[in-house]
Point group: D2
Chain length 348, copies 4
Amino acid sequence: MSIMVVKVAINGYGTIGKRVADAIDAQDDMEIIGVTKTRPSFGCDLAVRKGFPLYCTFDEPERIAAFAPAGYDCKGGLSELLAAADIVVDCSPGKVGAQNKQIYEDAGVKWIFQGGEKHVMTGLSYTSSGNHSENMNQSGTRVVSCNTTGLSRTLVPLLRKCGSLSVECTMIRRAADPGDSNKGPINAIKPVLKVPSHHGPDVMTIRPEISINSMAVAVPTTIMHVHAIVATLPQGHGMTTESILDLWHAQPRVVIMNGAETGITTTAEVMEFARDIGRKWGDLHEIFVWEDGVKLDGDTLYYFQAIHQESDVIPENVDAIRALMGLESDWNVSVSKTDKAIATYNGL
Amino acid sequence: MSIMVVKVAINGYGTIGKRVADAIDAQDDMEIIGVTKTRPSFGCDLAVRKGFPLYCTFDEPERIAAFAPAGYDCKGGLSELLAAADIVVDCSPGKVGAQNKQIYEDAGVKWIFQGGEKHVMTGLSYTSSGNHSENMNQSGTRVVSCNTTGLSRTLVPLLRKCGSLSVECTMIRRAADPGDSNKGPINAIKPVLKVPSHHGPDVMTIRPEISINSMAVAVPTTIMHVHAIVATLPQGHGMTTESILDLWHAQPRVVIMNGAETGITTTAEVMEFARDIGRKWGDLHEIFVWEDGVKLDGDTLYYFQAIHQESDVIPENVDAIRALMGLESDWNVSVSKTDKAIATYNGL
Amino acid sequence: MSIMVVKVAINGYGTIGKRVADAIDAQDDMEIIGVTKTRPSFGCDLAVRKGFPLYCTFDEPERIAAFAPAGYDCKGGLSELLAAADIVVDCSPGKVGAQNKQIYEDAGVKWIFQGGEKHVMTGLSYTSSGNHSENMNQSGTRVVSCNTTGLSRTLVPLLRKCGSLSVECTMIRRAADPGDSNKGPINAIKPVLKVPSHHGPDVMTIRPEISINSMAVAVPTTIMHVHAIVATLPQGHGMTTESILDLWHAQPRVVIMNGAETGITTTAEVMEFARDIGRKWGDLHEIFVWEDGVKLDGDTLYYFQAIHQESDVIPENVDAIRALMGLESDWNVSVSKTDKAIATYNGL
Amino acid sequence: MSIMVVKVAINGYGTIGKRVADAIDAQDDMEIIGVTKTRPSFGCDLAVRKGFPLYCTFDEPERIAAFAPAGYDCKGGLSELLAAADIVVDCSPGKVGAQNKQIYEDAGVKWIFQGGEKHVMTGLSYTSSGNHSENMNQSGTRVVSCNTTGLSRTLVPLLRKCGSLSVECTMIRRAADPGDSNKGPINAIKPVLKVPSHHGPDVMTIRPEISINSMAVAVPTTIMHVHAIVATLPQGHGMTTESILDLWHAQPRVVIMNGAETGITTTAEVMEFARDIGRKWGDLHEIFVWEDGVKLDGDTLYYFQAIHQESDVIPENVDAIRALMGLESDWNVSVSKTDKAIATYNGL
């Protein structure tokens, strides 16, 4: 009996693309058949180093030809890559999605977009624990943003337990990624003046039963977003602070630690923890919840969670491929398989 | 007819003390008769420059004697200062209040503490627009913290209009003041793990009818706190986004500007605005509300406000003196008098 | 006897322009007859508030007409302003100089550019203590950058004393101004890879006898540049650390303080000092030298100085007007007059 | 024939200790026989995870006993660890060295201190490329600081080529490590007022022929120090910018890249490069030199280098063990062996 190995193309080998490629490469039921870059640049070295065939994001011969003089072996344009692929993971910068979607459909491949694209463009969104089954065998989906993924991880199990939820979330967002030296502010807080912001409501593309709004500010840090969450549970919920913590302990891709006991009291120590446990890039795929920052007060639940903006969606992309390709219908099984393969740390 | 001029002592001439002294000095119904420092240091120069008599925070002769060799004329210890005062404004670092209160009462002077002390110690708290009249002729009070003062400015008028209010506030706090080079973090977000935090509920020491909780994070900036506020108005409130803005426009010490129109979109530009209009120290006594960040959605009001942590309580201390000394029973009259005297900018 | 009052136009009312306008406004031998903005914006409020006539940077009628609907009374275009002026201070963003210079010459007014323009464009540069006399009655000049001005303040008196100087300067530069929330980096050091950088050699446009090179890095702070300077004095210089400090004490616009004694050990405390002494915008026109950071070791002099990038050139613009207009030939007299008029703090 | 495997103890399993332990663990001629912690804490988990026997930094029974209740198996006190060791690497916080040295000598083990201790205490210092042979078979040494190690890497080959060198270095230092959320400043530059600083001259403990002074500032970043270096070569040096680059290309543990070509223009991108190539903790053992920031101008060489303060000394500790234990007398052979074993990236 032969095992189907899904052929995956990565369109856009940048911050997200390079991580998704590694995560896919670690699985036994899928393989990377190529990654694209717009032009020869340092990122190409990384692809070569990893052994991923390199393609050009465009089909124009002169753009493809530009790689050779810089010392890179470019296998061809996007069309050639898609011709050999079963599915493409689009990791290009946001807002070019609509145009690419048509290209993918014309090429007859399935597609996954990232959270920079809007739900209205894809018509379907995805998180592993939220709605895996409704993504089974579909032609394409959108893996939601790092923030929405993080909210889904802790809110969906609450929803399952309580039946309904009303949530207000304030997002304190890092203003730039660690490798980005251009963006500010250096010394200011920047509120997102459109209130409520779009981040929270995006959770409803996954589970419409969660009533949620959010506000957001950007702050001068490069590591992790923090969510300050106030959730109202339905009357008669029967939950306690402890039972909620138990619920999250049982949830994959959530790490719970006590700040006072571990000394992990800021995002600096959370990221140091991720470095210590040996994660590639120092990534933390899990959502980090401070045990001593969780409190259920009557019907109102308060908690903080920290989100590693560069990486929490990475394993979700792997699971999404399994859903779209019909490889695995049980989300828990897919998550275990994904995380085991990429040596995700599952509970120190 | 002679006008009574209240004799005011400042105990602790630091970040808050130096500003309160200047604000009092600008009034015609009160005067600074002395300020204290614990030891000779650069802050003494400033007192000398301003012409404020310099005293020692302690009565021990050797501590008083330490000022002369450093070139400062120290007039004596705290007891001597209090003996000549009608009222003392305690601006010493937090948590030494209980001990000082007894000293003040023994000296027979009225007293004002700052928000670093707890309400339970003073039994009475103060904001100009919140509860001026209940502070009339009392023996002492506590001017609440910068955060509580800021919340009171925008919530009390809403409370007056609506009768009741339920509020969740997330405070994004500057981690250190501009002149403080020791504190971090440099690159992290630090949640205050005790949830709900004490900041929000402190508003109820001013107006117990406001039901409020808060969460807080510290971030790597030195300028201003930002509040992300979700307030639930009672059913049948009859308010609109516009009528709420009108309410705040009519409220003293609230500045409302449109971020998109003015380009003032972060706390950096807010502080630059304060520098431009010529404020001492670049202070902003007013609470800054972004017009385009206010939205009433059914019963739920969302808004952002920025708080200048070093200065919003300064004029409140002046008004609190008037209340305790029985100089003026109408808070609006006191506020106008205070602000006119210190040339507060009142509506560009 | 009538006193000539020079009529000054400010072309570009931004970070530098607003400060230069205030400094000129404080003098009795010159007056502001108008300032320009490219379009209606918040900066116009400030001009109105200060009572400076408002003009448009351009002459196109539709651009001039755009001010009225925004509520601003625009008196006309640049040509109309220049027609009434004796001299124009160009505070527009760097690199538009060459074009403007022709406009100014055609209008028959004298002109001053800022350090963002190159010496080769103006053919003449200026610092008050460096080369005032060679600027007397010239048709135009360039007030050098904040860094070059700062170097000139401490190096020129050394040059006068020693006859020659060889200097290596490393500039640690703030990456963005306080009111600028867009620029980064948030967490990185950015070297200026062109070595030696242009900053140091620019001093030679003022005093070619100083042999100087520099290297520069940008760092995530908004307040002040710091210079780490290694100067080689000629053999037989006869100087000591103390005599160098005496030299600088006698030099206008240099403040010297001992870090250990005052607690002013970083740029944070330097800026707090400027706020404390009541400077507009919290500016520090003076160069700040740490007394305990100066050491002459044989022929090699080490010292640190801090530069307030927003303001050290402001009084120099005033003096430059006096030179070009032939008002005062003695630079020391001009400096004293300028600084007294703008209430510059001259030696606490 | 049996191969001697050196038994190594790590006293102090923190930022440096945890990295040194991993590097030693990767070698075939040495092994970790235990690491110490002062008390049960999160760092113990890491030791357990890695399989390193855990000891207490102290011998007091009650301190040893404190580990068990926290769930850690503590094998005993420092004395017990030393009794089984050939050599101890002291990675305890600076300034406790003198006391520990006596303990190590009494226990009859060889010792290595880190750069936080002074040369005068150890009498001998070490860098792999600087003075490996003079450390052969000695009883103990000091691996110099990250900064001195970095300077040694680029200066020693120049010295070998030119015979003498005179150097001025300005160090722009990160103010706190990534996992440290307490230290500031958030928005300031802090000069080290003692000039010249001790950092540069420390190079002379390795190679006294290099005449070097340094100045230092701390800045609000957590990643990497940057050195701005001005080196004066002796007359008749015969070098060019290109020949110097060639020299460094041939030098182990130096990475040279062109900022303009790679887009790696700040320490942010340098660290991202280290993450991309898969280093544990995202470390960069190599010194990073910007090719386009190197310029030889007559006898004066200008260049920038970036130092990963957490890790550049790690492989040097391994080599130092080989020197002290007499395992390998050729530094180049030791460096190759070390770096191959820890999969150090050696020239992309």
